[in-house]
């Protein structure tokens, strides 16, 4: 008889533990952000301090910038942390968010096959490199997923005086994340635009690629167009179901001197350089 009861007890306990996640007084902040902040491990390092301070839990939805913005528009997130300046401004202008605040930046680099068929190694401007790649017809892999990186790539093609998302054989629009796109470029010998953090983190498996434009660290990156600023925006509380108070608290905390200092040291130990550079107004005017 006893043995028959055990499975039921187990199931009940499992059910209770699931339910327990939503019980209690704990508040929940829904943060929609890009894969880069989450995959790099930055949020794991930062968020516990906020959760403890405000007795809250942060649910991170790490998706492409396009989807993160869509989540905000739908009111399925309380706050978004993304990197696509013009779209962030449009998000606020259209009334989906209350205000945009600078958080941090890192930089993009153009990486390519070590044999460099388009001879772009050492170019100062990313747009010049892209023009050379297009001229030689060397394979270029694009994220093609409306991510922040893809948005940046489009603006670089524009700067090169070319149409964005070229309809050409050498231009491969993958519609995949940064990691997969880098793997693809490494495998077929293609150029691509990547954020430096992901390239550094994945470096081991990308033996066929090296940085062509952007130098060994952000200090050597001479193209201001390759800077990659991140902004945080609380979602407009008019959408309903938004914890505006907590979202504002999150923005304030994220841009505070203490948090910004944590951002500055994150990743130095593993990669010999920071993955993100603090850039909030508070930090700049400290």
């Amino acid at each position: 008889m006893r043995t028959r009861i055990i499975p039921f007890v187990v199931i009940l306990l499992l059910a209770a533990s699931c339910a327990g996640e939503n019980s209690g007084e704990e508040r929940v902040l829904r943060l929609a952000t890009t894969t880069s902040t989450n995959d790099s491990g930055l949020l794991d390092a930062l968020l516990p301090a906020f959760e403890e301070e405000h007795n809250t839990r942060v649910d991170v939805v790490a998706v492409g910038t396009g989807q993160a913005i869509a989540l905000g528009e739908a009111g399925d997130a309380d706050v978004i942390l993304v990197h696509a300046r013009s779209r962030e401004e449009a998000f606020v202008a259209e009334g989906h968010g209350t205000a945009r605040s600078d958080v941090m930046y890192n930089d993009f680099v153009i990486v390519g096959p070590t044999d460099d068929p388009a001879s772009v190694d050492g170019a100062t401007l990313a747009s010049d490199a892209l023009a050379a790649i297009a001229a030689t017809g060397a394979t270029f892999a694009s994220r093609g997923d409306d991510s922040g990186t893809h948005s940046k790539e489009r603006s670089l093609w524009e700067a090169a005086g070319m149409e964005t998302d070229p309809d050409a054989d050498w231009y491969k629009s993958l519609g995949q994340g940064m990691g997969s796109t880098l793997n693809y470029a490494n495998e077929v010998g293609a150029y691509t635009l990547t954020d430096r953090g992901t390239f550094l983190a994945q470096g081991e498996s990308l033996q066929g690629l090296r940085v062509m434009v952007g130098g060994a660290s952000i200090d050597e990156n001479d193209d201001p167009a390759l800077l990659n600023p991140y902004g945080v925006i609380p979602v407009n509380p008019d959408k309903g179901g938004i914890d505006a108070e907590l979202a504002e608290a999150f923005v304030e905390w994220l841009t505070s001197i203490e948090t910004q200092a944590m951002i500055e040291t994150f990743g130095v130990e593993s990669f010999g350089q920071p993955l993100f550079y603090p850039d909030s107004e508070t930090w700049r005017s400290r």
């Binding site: 492409g64 396009g66 989807q67 993160a68 093609g144 997923d145 409306d146 519609g175 997969s180 066929g208």
Partner: protein
């Protein structure tokens, strides 16, 4: 709810104005799925029938559990395996099949094959064991016995076809890894759905989902008609 309704309405609009990129994606999806299915059937049905009909098969104790395991292979694992085999550093890197439809067909064939073998085997084993003996007595060759038994098990064999088709047309993990979701080259419906969802284009993603479901439904409807028709005679 509003988003869902709007996405659905927009999806219908997009379907109405099907553009060439969308048609290309649908055609490639069908090509890859059907080629993989046919290869898996041509190899898998005879093997499944042979295993099902051979009473004293050496190594059955190992082969059958292996097949059953294969029937539950996570597509993404198959994708990873195929990726590594077809990669430049892999044993078949020289073929240059990574990030091409050929590579996707390889992965999907691997996913479909154990399903076809396992379900064909089960279908054949479900046929009254006296039937093969009586066919032999009537003067059938081994091959004729296998053919007659397969025809007798046709409802089960059709189920194998349907299961394999459904598994690979709806599969996203393997084709994403091996194909790379390259626009105009290896983008199929499932990978396009993932992409458009990530982009926040829920209406387009929904439209693609409706197309995928319609393809699955139409094909299964055809299979079912076939099954009913066969069942009567």
């Amino acid at each position: 709810m509003e988003t869902l309704g709007r996405a659905f309405a927009n999806a219908l609009g997009l379907l109405w104005n099907m553009d060439s990129a969308l048609i290309e994606t649908v055609v490639l999806t069908l090509q890859v799925t059907l080629v993989a299915l046919v290869i898996a059937l041509v190899i898998g049905i005879p093997i499944g029938a042979a295993i099902g009909l051979t009473r004293h098969l050496p190594g059955r104790w190992l082969i059958v559990p292996l097949i059953y395991t294969g029937m539950g292979l996570p597509p993404v694992t198959v994708g990873l395996f195929t990726y590594l085999v077809l990669s430049n550093q892999g044993p078949l890197g020289g073929l240059g099949w990574l990030f091409t439809p050929a590579g996707m067909i390889v992965a999907q064939t691997i996913i479909a094959f154990p399903l076809v073998v396992g379900l064909t085997m089960a279908a054949v084993q479900g046929v009254e064991p006296n039937l093969p003996v009586q066919m032999l007595s009537l003067g059938a060759t081994r091959r004729q016995v296998a053919t007659v038994t397969l025809l007798e098990a046709r409802v089960g064999v059709t189920a194998a076809v349907v299961a394999a088709y459904g598994a690979i047309i709806s599969e996203v993990g393997a084709v994403m890894l091996v194909g790379g979701n390259i626009e105009g080259e290896t983008r199929v419906l499932t990978t396009a759905i993932v992409l458009e969802t990530r982009r926040g284009n829920f209406a387009l993603a929904m439209a693609l989902g409706i197309i995928l479901l319609s393809l699955a439904f139409l094909t299964n409807f055809a299979f079912h008609r076939l099954q009913v028709h066969q069942g009567v005679r």
